[in-house]
């Protein structure tokens, strides 16, 4: 692995089929838009190295299909993910209403509750919006997610979405370090004093 890479993060993109998950990922990793992108089968995978505040993070991003039949596969990819991008299509209300289902599934299959979630409303380049920005915002707030509207086609918001997500992950203690040592356990009266060279804390006798 590259020496200067601070950490490798596992990200996941989920949401109904056709909302533009694969297109967002292609935009982010290769900065292109491919109208000929075929519908994902099972899961797909891309990597990209991102520099945040001078630190390089290697991102391993799993793209999922979204169709009902492929769903049995995806939960296994939730495991160990530090971040999730949840996508809906601003021109299709039903992709927005289905978000609850996706969150439920996420809740069921992720064990850590500190996983960072980003909500992306995609295809804002189109003008037949069915979901208002405020609705997305409200939903994100309700579920403690980051939120952005984006377009894989015009690249609006795409880079930003990934960067914000990664930044947030790096700011979350214990989420990305391999060791999550954190606080040491201490119990009331026990194991205090002692150990000090001078005999430290004393009482009589």
């Amino acid at each position: 692995m590259d020496d200067d890479v601070l950490t490798t993060l596992k990200l996941l993109i989920i949401g109904e089929s056709g909302v533009g998950k694969s297109s967002l990922l292609l935009r982010f990793t290769e900065d292109t838009f491919d109208p000929e992108q075929s519908a994902t089968i099972g899961v797909d995978f891309k990597v990209k190295t991102l520099a945040i505040d001078g630190n390089k993070a290697k991102l391993a991003i799993w793209d999922t299909a979204g169709q009902e039949r492929f769903r049995t596969l995806t939960p296994s990819y939730y495991r160990g993910a530090q971040g999730v991008i949840l996508v809906y299509d601003v021109t299709k209300r039903d992709t927005f209403t289905k978000l609850e289902n996706w969150l439920n599934e996420l809740e069921t299959y992720t064990t850590r509750n500190d996983i960072v979630k980003m909500l992306v409303g995609n295809k804002i380049d189109r003008d037949d919006h069915e979901v208002d920005r405020n609705e997305g915002l409200k939903f994100a707030r309700k579920h403690a997610m980051l939120f952005i509207e984006a377009s894989a086609k015009t690249k609006d918001g795409v880079q930003c979405a990934f960067e914000e997500l990664v930044e947030k992950i790096l700011q979350t203690p214990g989420l990305w370090e391999s060791e999550s040592q954190g606080q040491t356990l201490r119990l009331g009266n026990q194991e205090q004093g002692g150990g000090r060279a001078c005999g430290g804390y004393c009482s009589v006798p």
Partner: protein, 982 residues
């Protein structure tokens, strides 16, 4: 060392300081270098200049406040010292700075006189002795010999003195001299034309003339040159500490459980699900009662060699602390430790039990089971498969046991008891039917609603087979034969699983249909095996049931009318004698045989019809939203599909690694899609079979509806109609969906090649299980055991209500959860968690011990009981707890009683028959002699403010702290003098 020059103590001077040494400690320049280094550090630490801090009027929290420590190594020639700065973090420091005023003398000197912070329950000894909140200590570094010779001591003290003067530092500075354990310090504080010397005397015995307050007052007076008149009063604070350590009145309440009984026939099988708990010995070794007289003045109290006013019962202030037994033997703790230790054993099961034993037994099982199947007496009522299983099983076990009886590490009784506990269905009532089995532990389902602990800890649900196995292994490891028994039980366990696989009996107690990735790997593996057994059963059912109603076996939805043709065909199959009933059975060969069977019996005329709507539909589940096919008026049916392959986390990991390895190029992505398209192909084939004459558009409308775009268009006759088409991405020529559709043949799911090879997967799981060593097993089971231990602690805590334990259970759960969620848990950190669990068991045991000692059950009313409960909880949490009401309060009464009981029995031993009680009642003030033992420690603190060295000098703080114990006499003095007017 420094000797109090005014007092003649030559006779009792410690002999160790007399050692003569030739000093070539340093040259002048080395000395100067050292001094400047000390100054440098003081500057670095910004300790120079006026003390800007003001003495806060309130009591500073010396024990619980935060003490900051900074350390720096400094050298004197080749001597390494460590220089450390200690300071209490003042919470309201900013406030006091704003109302800064010139202090009359350095903060430390004010601290000497402050009476608010006497006898802190926990503090650095210099803090206790001098009452100071900030100081610097120079002590020999680790592995450096102590400063013993007087010349070296003096040299160091002068260095300090010079550096303090040079730097203008007003923080007191000490050097540690003599052996570390003696805790001897000398030091100095400078500032504002005043100067305080810190000196100590440390002896092994208390000289008799100083064994009381009046003698100590004499020393203090003569040392300070207490010459002026009228004499300012000497402030006196006294603290006596009494130790209670003889618990014969209260034998330890818990008897260790009888483990033979746990397994014996009398105690139910359920006993195996319980973890032992509690300490096997006393956990509280001593009670320390400190009685304090905080503010006395010389003359108001009498304490000399013949008489004393100091009756502990009437002391205004009582505080209690406990001393706990360091590592008492605790049952749960031992169990956890034993299991954790198993991790270090490298032996394989084979090595432990002897080569070949597994195969031999395996062979034995098939023979014996075949045998017993034949010899089993015919039951009067039709018996279910399961009861046969259990009988066959018991027979096998019997034969086996017979053979192994002598060498087997576990007795037959024990093993049977354990296996019955693990596989309760094997012993179930014969009439109980199999379908009831998997749900047989409804209890756990309820538990689960309130308890998702198994998800947090990545263990397995309580009551699941895995959880129960963990408990058994743990008990067997600790109490029934250790490593060998663990290996043996494991082998038996795996044999039972193999037996179930081979004979199509489900494993009960695994709940989920598919491996639950939130559980531990072992649990997933067992679930996987169960999946395999279920699939195999389902296959058998399809072929066995005369009416092929369960084509949809897994979905449990069927339309018998749809299957008329195939139903007859399967009837023939089932009826044909000598044919294997396992139509979908193990090898591919058999699979094709089965296929051709069915092909032969298929109505030929139907088959030969040309492609089109007339072709017989097969494998339909139900119509899809009343949609009709695009090219006909037939309903669009959702087909019966193959269920997705169950996966355990290690398989998934493997798979995702393979997928990731394909890289991120377009070709890689293409390959990845192709590798995953087997399921799509299978679904397309099922769809085609269920919907003859369908097109890709039809499939997409069911499978990926968002890729079928419908538009309202107005046709020639001005009607708006819906016109649909594939999404652009589906229309791309040659895309994998189109390609797969074109390759898909109309084959119903049950005739397709299996996506999931249950035979292979089952064998893989069994092999995985067979090769696990006891050490691996202990790792696999650790999450379940930690889970069980946490539950046990919760349960035990709940019966006592100990807030600190409750809190800590929460903490340890979070910590363990973090560790166990990692792919490769860090075992050294897990060890910490286990130690922590053990410590909690100890605390609960300590609490229980205190509860009996303080007779909480006999409290007069609920309020009192609650007070007592809180008091005991504080004893466990805090270093020292104030007894409200001192000797006259309720709790004080109980403590008093405890001492009296012990004294009485001690007196009884000494002078049997003597009536001490009457004697005692004569003089109230004399009661200490009888109710309490003589104090184990006495601390006497004398303070005053007088001019020194001359009567016209400034009036300055003087302090002497005296410690008198059985084997220590320590005088700790701080004497200030005016350096400008003397």
């Amino acid at each position: 060392m420094i000797i109090f020059d005014n007092v003649n103590m030559a006779a009792v001077t410690d002999p160790e300081s007399e050692v003569f040494e030739i000093t070539d400690f340093t040259t002048a320049s080395e000395w100067e270098r050292f001094v400047s280094r000390v100054e440098e550090v003081l500057n670095e630490w910004k300790l120079t200049g006026n003390s800007t801090r003001k003495l806060s009027k309130e009591k500073a929290d010396y024990s619980n406040g935060t003490w900051e420590e900074k350390s720096q190594e400094i050298n004197f020639v080749d001597f390494t010292f460590s220089m450390t700065h200690y300071a209490l973090v003042q919470e309201n420091e900013n406030d006091t700075n704003t109302e800064l005023e010139e202090a009359p003398f350095p903060l430390a000197m004010q601290d000497l006189l402050c009476t608010k912070n006497d006898f802190p329950p926990r503090a650095h000894c210099l803090v206790r002795w001098y009452g100071i909140r900030e100081f610097v200590v120079i002590s020999p570094g680790p592995n450096v010999e102590a400063i013993i010779s007087e010349s070296k001591c003096n040299l160091l003290l002068s260095s300090i003195s010079v550096s303090l003067v040079n730097s203008g530092c007003q923080v007191p500075m000490f050097v540690q001299i003599q052996q570390k354990w003696r805790r001897l310090y000398s030091g100095e504080c400078q500032g504002h034309g005043v100067h305080t010397e810190f000196e100590m005397v440390h002896l092994r015995k208390v000289p008799s003339q100083y064994n009381h307050l009046s003698g100590l007052l004499d020393i203090f007076k003569s040392k300070t040159g207490y010459t002026i008149y009228p004499l300012p009063p000497i402030n006196v604070a006294i603290r006596f500490t009494y130790i209670l350590q003889d618990w014969q009145q209260h034998s330890w309440p818990l008897q260790p459980p009888d483990f033979d009984n746990l397994l014996g026939g009398e105690v139910g099988v359920e006993e195996f699900g319980k973890l032992p708990f509690g300490a096997c010995e006393e956990t509280i070794s001593e009670l320390h009662l400190s009685t304090t007289w905080p503010e006395l003045t010389e003359g108001t109290v009498l304490d000399n060699d013949v008489y004393s006013d100091l009756d502990p019962l009437h002391a205004p202030h009582w505080a209690l602390r406990i001393k706990t037994v360091e590592h008492p033997q605790c049952l749960l703790g031992d169990l956890l430790t034993d299991l954790f230790k198993l991790r270090g054993r490298k032996e394989t099961t084979e090595e432990i039990l002897g080569r070949g034993s597994a195969e031999e037994e395996g062979k034995d099982s098939t023979i014996s089971s075949a045998l017993s199947r034949l010899t089993e007496p015919a039951a009067p009522v039709p018996i279910s498969k399961l009861s046969v299983s259990s009988m066959v099983h018991n027979a096998r076990r019997h034969i086996q046991r017979h053979r192994l009886n002598d060498e087997s590490p576990l007795g037959i009784e024990e093993l049977n008891c354990i296996l019955q506990y693990l596989f309760p269905d094997a012993a179930m009532d014969k009439t109980e039917n199999q379908s009831a089995q998997p749900n047989s532990y409804g209890k756990s389902q309820k538990d689960q609603n309130t308890d998702d602990l198994f998800i947090q800890l990545k263990s397995a649900p309580v009551e699941s087979l895995t959880h129960r196995l963990a408990l058994c292994m743990c008990l067997v490891n600790s109490y029934h034969g250790g490593l060998r028994a663990v290996a043996y039980l494991w082998q038996e366990f795996v044999l039972e699983l193999r037996y179930r696989w081979e004979n199509n009996y489900q494993i009960c107690g695994l709940q989920e249909e598919l491996p639950d990735l939130r559980c531990c790997l072992l649990h997933q593996k067992l679930q996987m095996l169960n999946c395999c057994i279920k699939r195999k059963q389902a296959r058998d059912n399809i072929c066995n049931t005369p009416e092929r109603s369960s084509e949809t076996a897994s979905q449990n939805v069927h339309q018998p009318t749809q299957f008329t043709a195939t139903a007859s065909s399967s009837q023939i199959t089932a009826g044909s004698p000598g044919k294997s009933l396992d139509s979908w059975s193990d090898s591919e060969e058999e699979f094709f045989e089965c296929l051709s069977d069915q092909g032969d019996t298929e109505t030929p005329s139907m088959r030969r019809e040309k492609d089109g709507s007339k072709t017989r539909a097969e494998g339909r589940m139900h119509p899809c939203n009343n949609m009709t096919l695009l090219n006909s008026s037939e309903l669009l049916f959702i087909p019966v599909t193959q269920e997705p392959a169950p996966m355990t986390e290690d398989l998934l990991e493997e798979q995702s690694e393979i997928l990731a390895k394909l890289g991120t190029s377009a070709e890689g992505a293409q390959l990845r899609a192709r590798m995953q398209s087997a399921c799509l192909l299978s679904d397309m084939e099922s769809f085609k079979a269920a919907n003859p004459g369908s097109v890709l558009e039809d499939f997409v409308r069911w499978y990926s509806p968002r890729d079928f775009l419908e538009e309202e268009i107005v046709n020639e006759t001005s009607q708006t109609i819906l016109k649909g088409q594939l999404s652009p991405r589906m229309k791309i020529p040659g895309n994998i969906w189109v390609e797969t559709w074109e390759n898909a043949k109309a084959v119903p799911a049950h005739r397709q090649r299996r996506l999931f090879d249950d035979t292979r997967e089952a064998e893989k799981v069994l092999h995985f299980l067979e090769v696990q060593k006891p050490a691996d097993l202990s790792c696999h089971l650790l999450p379940c055991i930690i889970h069980a231990a946490i539950l046990k602690l919760k349960e035990e805590e709940a019966s006592e209500n100990i807030p600190s334990v409750k809190n800590n259970i929460q903490k340890v759960t979070v910590q363990a959860s973090k560790l166990l969620q990692q792919f490769n848990p860090d075992y050294s950190n897990l060890q910490d968690c286990i130690d922590f669990l053990i410590a909690m068991e100890m605390v609960i045991a300590q609490y229980r011990s205190l509860k009996t000692k303080f007779a909480i059950a006999e409290a007069e009313n609920e309020e009192q009981r609650e007070n007592l409960r809180q008091f005991l909880n504080s004893l466990l949490e805090d270093p020292e707890v104030v007894v409200s009401g001192a000797g006259h309060g309720k709790i004080g009464g109980i403590i008093h009683r405890l001492f009296v009981n012990v004294q009485e029995s001690a007196n009884l031993d000494k002078e049997p028959g003597q009536k001490k009680n009457e004697e005692r009642k004569l003089t109230e003030g004399d009661s200490k002699n009888h109710d309490f033992p003589s104090p184990a420690g006495r601390e006497i603190l004398l303070r005053t403010c007088i001019p020194r060295p001359a009567p016209y000098s400034k009036s300055l703080p003087q302090r002497l702290f005296c410690v008198l114990t059985r084997d220590e006499f320590r005088l700790v003095g701080a004497f200030s003098s005016d350096t400008s007017f003397f």
